[in-house]
């Protein structure tokens, strides 16, 4: 025997560095993957890992594993790994990417995951143009759960849940990539296959491109990969590969569906966040920005007032409640303001509960008001019986409706809307009524009211009108009291 010739060889492609050398997160057989012979995931994993290596982004990469056979992607990829709920990978990926813009985030999803349960999440992530890379592995069936029908199952294809073959009643194969390609935002969408070596080479280029787009900050990229599943399809690996090329491709044609890679702009670098010390000021809660002391001099006034204000939505009952509460706070009192309104944006009824007191307020709900401000008839009917004996009803009308139960209660019924109209704008009726109320709450300092009004009414024209309306309301109340005293 002659001596064997000396052979020199080198490994053209070793295992990508982005794979773990042994799969320690796996319980058994840590040198091999859990994928079946002939499964497309192994090929796709390798092209993805190779692209990560080539682009030098292993440290920055975060891989989102879905539910499905690739749920264990984190066994294999030596990158940051997040396992997500069924179909939700695009939502999870969205927030990882937005939280860490420097990361490279890959959502790796199967067809059941992406096109059925996760159809909303992928649609909206694509529509927002999230700067993600989505690897969409389409094998036309639910494999991990044992071969049920997917939205991508071909017409006539049998599955455990379409045993007679998929018919029109089960819907038609969903072309997700084509659907997503109708959106404005996506940068790159391509469908590739693993049907033969030529297709595989193209698939590897597409995966790399989709990743490179993200590295360049270009936006949403998705690669759909038609992938064999010999076990569930009940074929040999070779038959399965041919089926991808000869059958699947007929329903899902390969090709580029969207390519804006040339024209897309890379994302602007986000501005640095403000200094932590500036945050209270930005939020408007820095004490230096608040009125330092109550504008009223001395101790809080002796006032314990419970008010109910009600009217149509748009009449401004919530606003006058707020002015009253703000004024009370300014005067050093404890206050509460609680609104109650229907779902209508306009014309519904609305009312609020306002309390001012020197003591801590227990319940902000006002069951028995000292004063009811009723800006319309339904409100006075609804609330008049609640007013405590000796209290006041201020009503926007000439007289109270006859059937109102208002025993032992003072009443000021005036056409406040008309009075406000005479002052310049019917919409100031609420302020005229507030003026009348403030005359009852006489020891609430005027400075506090002015200061509250100034904070809440920013338009100078309205402020002037509202001040006039308040004065008019006060005067009405004083006159009414004088008349009552005179009469008695």
């Amino acid at each position: 025997m002659s001596s064997e010739p000396e052979v020199s060889w080198e490994i053209a492609r070793s295992k990508p560095a982005s794979f773990y050398s042994t799969y320690e997160r796996k319980d058994e057989l840590q040198h091999a993957t859990h994928y079946c012979p002939g499964c497309g995931h192994g090929i796709i994993h390798k092209m993805l890992a190779q692209a990560i290596d080539d682009l030098g982004i292993q440290d920055r990469t975060v891989l989102i594993s879905p539910v499905g056979c690739s749920v264990f992607a984190y066994y294999y990829f030596d990158v940051g790994n997040v396992q997500a709920a069924h179909g939700r990978a695009p939502a999870v990926a969205t927030a990882v990417k937005r939280s860490r813009p420097g990361s490279v985030v890959i959502a790796y999803q199967g067809d059941g995951d992406l096109s059925a349960i996760g159809s909303a999440e992928i649609l909206h992530a694509a529509n927002r143009g999230e700067a993600l890379t989505v690897i969409f592995v389409n094998n036309a069936i639910y494999s991990m759960t044992g071969g049920q029908m997917a939205p991508t199952t071909l017409m006539g294809q049998t599955s455990t849940t379409s045993p007679q073959g998929r018919g029109a009643h089960e819907g038609y194969p969903l072309h997700v990539s084509e659907l997503l390609a109708t959106l404005e935002a996506p940068v790159y969408i391509e469908r590739v296959g693993l049907g033969d070596n030529k297709q595989i080479a193209q698939a590897a280029r597409a995966v790399r491109r989709a990743l490179d787009n993200q590295v360049r900050g270009l936006g949403f990229s998705l690669v759909e990969i038609l992938s064999p599943c010999p076990t569930i399809w009940k074929m040999t690996p070779v038959e399965a590969q041919h089926w991808v090329r000869d059958v699947m491709e007929g329903t899902f044609p390969l090709g580029v569906l969207r390519d804006r890679t040339q024209s897309a702009q890379s994302d602007a670098v986000p501005a640095p966040p403000p200094l932590l010390s500036a945050v209270p000021r930005i939020l408007g809660i820095a004490k230096t920005g608040l009125p330092a002391e109550p504008s009223a001099v001395g101790a809080a006034p002796d006032l314990n007032l419970q008010v109910r204000m009600a009217g149509f939505g748009g009449q401004g009952v919530l606003l006058i409640g707020e002015v009253l509460a703000e004024a009370g706070l300014d005067a050093g009192l404890e206050v509460s303001w609680l609104p109650s309104y229907g779902p209508e944006m306009r014309s519904g009824t609305s009312n609020c509960h306002v309390r001012l007191a020197r003591e801590l307020i227990d319940s902000p709900l006002v069951a028995h008001p000292d004063v009811l401000v009723a800006m319309n008839e339904p409100s006075v009917r609804k609330f008049c019986a609640m007013v405590r004996a000796g209290g006041w009803i201020l009503y926007n009308g000439e007289t109270l409706p006859e059937d109102c139960d208002w025993k032992d209660v003072h009443v000021l019924a005036r056409p406040f809307t008309r009075i406000a109209k005479d002052l310049g704008d019917a919409r100031a009726a609420n302020m005229v009524m507030l003026g009348a109320l403030l005359e009852i709450a006489g020891n609430l300092p005027r400075t506090s009211i002015e200061s509250a009004l100034g904070r809440l009414v920013r338009n100078p024209r309205w402020l002037a009108l509202d001040e006039a309306a308040l004065a008019s309301g006060r005067k009405l109340m004083r006159e009414a009291c004088a008349e009552a005293n005179h009469a008695s």
Binding site: V62, R88, R98, L276, S277, L329, V335, P343, S363
Partner: protein
């Protein structure tokens, strides 16, 4: 001390930002929308992320992503939206991810209405999602507590690596009261387990999956151990004039405010009435109840639900004392008057040594 008049819903967002929250992912729903709107206004100004999700399902999964990346994050919703989030809450508890969820409750079941109810107690406190997990639940009863308990929620979420729910009714969310905030903001450090897209965090993996039965069991036992520590350390409740109380009123949220008003009036009339207000609904303040049981003659639980917390009160007392129940539903709050009437009735039945009723009414 200068305070600001503010809605509870707005106070949540400002407090969250001060506590280092830099991610808000939400979907609009009445009566929680002001929280989402305030987050939209403020979060970008402090360099945080605000994103309106396509659904509550997506929103909670976005929290899953943001929390995985090591960012303090929150969402806000109400009953129907919280129902949709339960899947994600289970995943977050399983993967031990911190987040804060504000549930500003409304009326149910189904679409119900937009008025305040407390009928989310079961789905929030008992964990509406699948699997062996708990959420920590805090129940504010004032705008100041909306701020304070939000900050605490973020601390607890990080401490226990678990979702924390701030459970408030629509009243507390919508009402305005004076509030003051801490004058400094926190910047939490990046958790060592986070997946942040960096060399240091490359080996980290977030998952809720444990295929091996023994491993999953051991994982769940670890969660249980964590919850046990929370039960020892994080219980909070307010005892409001409960010393010597023979009638103990029990309620949380807006109901507790009503109860304080009633108890104040009853006490002024010489009745030994106090209020026990659970602040943490999980862990439930069972010991507080047991402490009061020897002296108390009866507990009255008041809820805006069909008696959901009532079950926990009965478990805590374990038959030691009678537990009565008064409730309103559909968006109605129990009135001062009806609770007071119930207290009077309980006094008649359980406090035989009371002065003659006529005398008492004169006092009122």
């Amino acid at each position: 001390m200068p305070k600001q008049l503010m809605k509870g819903n707005e106070a949540i967002v400002k407090s969250a930002i001060l506590a280092g929250c830099r991610g808000f992912y939400g979907y609009p729903i009445t009566p929680a929308s002001e929280i989402t709107e305030a987050a939209a206004a403020w979060m970008p100004q402090v360099g945080g992320v605000f994103l309106q999700a396509e659904s509550e399902v997506a929103a909670i999964n976005m929290l899953y992503g943001a929390a995985s990346a090591g960012v303090r994050c929150m969402t806000a919703s109400s009953g129907p939206g919280i129902s949709l989030m339960q899947e994600g809450i289970s995943y977050m508890a399983g993967a031990e991810l911190p987040c804060v969820i504000a549930d500003i409750t409304r009326g149910g079941p189904g679409l119900g209405n937009i008025a305040s109810e407390q009928s989310d107690y079961h789905q929030v406190v008992k964990g509406g999602g699948h699997g062996n997990y708990r959420t920590l639940v805090l129940a504010p009863h004032s705008v100041q507590e909306m701020a304070d308990l939000t900050a605490l929620s973020f601390e607890l979420a990080d401490r226990y690596r678990n979702p924390v729910v701030l459970l408030a009714d629509g009243f507390i969310g919508q009402m305005m009261e004076p509030v003051e905030f801490p004058q400094s903001a926190t910047e939490p450090c990046l958790p060592r387990w986070a997946v942040a897209g960096t060399a240091e965090s490359r080996g980290n993996a977030i998952t809720s999956m444990h295929l091996d039965t023994d491993k999953l069991e051991s994982h769940v036992r670890q969660l249980e151990a964590k919850y046990f520590i929370a039960e020892q350390r994080e219980v909070r409740a307010e005892d409001w004039h409960t010393e010597g109380a023979e009638i103990v009123l029990v309620g949380y949220g807006i109901v507790a405010r009503i109860l304080k008003g009633v108890a104040a009036e009853a006490r002024a009339a010489g009745l030994p009435v106090g209020v026990l207000r659970p602040i943490t609904l999980y862990p439930f303040p069972a010991l507080h109840f047991q402490r009061l049981a020897p002296r108390a003659r009866v507990f009255l639980v008041v809820e805006m639900s069909n008696g959901q917390m009532l079950e926990d009160v009965r478990l805590a007392l374990n038959g030691a004392r009678p537990v009565e129940f008064l409730n309103r539903m559909g968006g109605n709050a129990p009135t001062h008057h009806e609770v007071l009437e119930a207290v009077r009735e309980l006094a008649r039945r359980h406090l035989p040594a009371l002065p003659a009723e006529e005398e008492w009414i004169v006092h009122v």
